[in-house]
Each structure stands twice: as structure tokens, then as C-alpha cells.
């Protein structure tokens, strides 16, 4: 799986690549989803640590989606006390969660969302993912 904060134009036009779904033009905490794709399912998420109004968008793909990896791409803007954005990729028969925080990135395969929220960042070794932030 890959998570890219700025869409890579080469991946959008690569011959033979899986089609790119334009999920939405914007998803904002305390806001609404803008220009969602027909298959995008938007809903509110949990509050936490005095913060509120998280937002989510779900894509229900075929069960074998993820066998060749998946890519979330977007431009990320954060500020103030904003804590996290989390990208959930299909992986095997479940999901892998990428936690992108102000000062760290972590990866987890939780069975519950509360486990995903408590991930402690750590360094591991097997593959690299590149991200760029917009503040």
C-alpha cells in the first residue's frame, strides 16, 4: 500500500494501472465532504482528547482489492491542535492503518479502531513510502 499526500501525476496516467477514483475534492474535520464520488460513503467519526468532529470517507471495494497494493493520494493541510489523519488500506482479508501525525508516521494492523488510535510510532524496515505535507 502507499499513501501519498500529494497526488503523483505519473500514477494517474500510467498505462495498465488500476483506474484512479476521484473520491472527493475535500474532506475536513468540522466540515462536510465536497464533491464526493458516487461510491464514496461519508460519515462522522469519533471525538477524542477534547477534539471533535472527525470525518471519514469509506470505499467498499471488491474483497480482493489490495492484492496489488492500494494508493490514497491527497493534499494534506493541518494546523493548530489538529492531531491525525489515518489512511486505511485493504490488506489481505483485513486492513492496514497508516497514522500520519504532526511529527510521526506509524503503521498498524489493528482489529479495532481504538487500537489504531493508540498506535505508538516505531521504526521498522521493509518498504518505503513517500509523503509531502502542506501546512
Amino acid at each position: 500500500m502507499a499513501s501519498r499526500a500529494t497526488p503523483g501525476p505519473s500514477s494517474l496516467s500510467r498505462p495498465g494501472a488500476a483506474p484512479v477514483v476521484k473520491v472527493a475534492s475535500e474532506l475536513q474535520a468540522k466540515g462536510t465532504i465536497k464533491n464526493p464520488a458516487p461510491e464514496a460513503i461519508a460519515f462522522n467519526g469519533p471525538d477524542g482528547d477534547g477534539r471533535r468532529a472527525s470525518r471519514c470517507v469509506l470505499l467498499k471495494n471488491e474483497p480482493d482489492t489490495g492484492k496489488n497494493g492500494t494508493t490514497w493520494a491527497f493534499t494534506y493541510v493541518r494546523g493548530g491542535a489538529a492531531e491525525v489523519v489515518q489512511m486505511v488500506h485493504p490488506h489481505g482479508r483485513g486492513q492496514v492503518v497508516i497514522n500520519l501525525r504532526k511529527s510521526d508516521v506509524s503503521i498498524a494492523t489493528p482489529s479495532t479502531w481504538s487500537q489504531a488510535a493508540r498506535v505508538i510510532p516505531r521504526r521498522s524496515r521493509s518498504c518505503a513510502r513517500r509523503r509531502r505535507f502542506s501546512r
Partner: protein, 60 residues
Amino acid sequence: MVATGRAGTASPVELGVGFADPAPPKLAPGNALLFVGPIDSGPNLCRDITFQASASEPPH
């Protein structure tokens, strides 16, 4: 920024308390989700969001 990580065996994620309708109680195989975390001040947002069912390895 380059981050490295290793994903082991995964199971469907149970969303649980705090997720509002129409959120499913549990993600199904193949499901993908983007979560923009809660805030008390300042922006937290994603723009020009895309999803693709393939991934290319970035250069190491």
C-alpha cells in the same frame, strides 16, 4: 518525508463507538477508509482525494 513500515497479517477493523450512521460496525475485506481526525482549533483537511487499487514502490 520517507517512512518505512512492515504490515503483518491483517483482520477486518471493527469501528465501534463514535462512528455515526451510515458507518458499518466492521470493515469488510477490500474496504478502504480515510479518516480526518478531530480538532479543537486549526485546520485538518484533505483536498483532491484519490484512491487507486494499485501501488508502485517509490525509489529507495
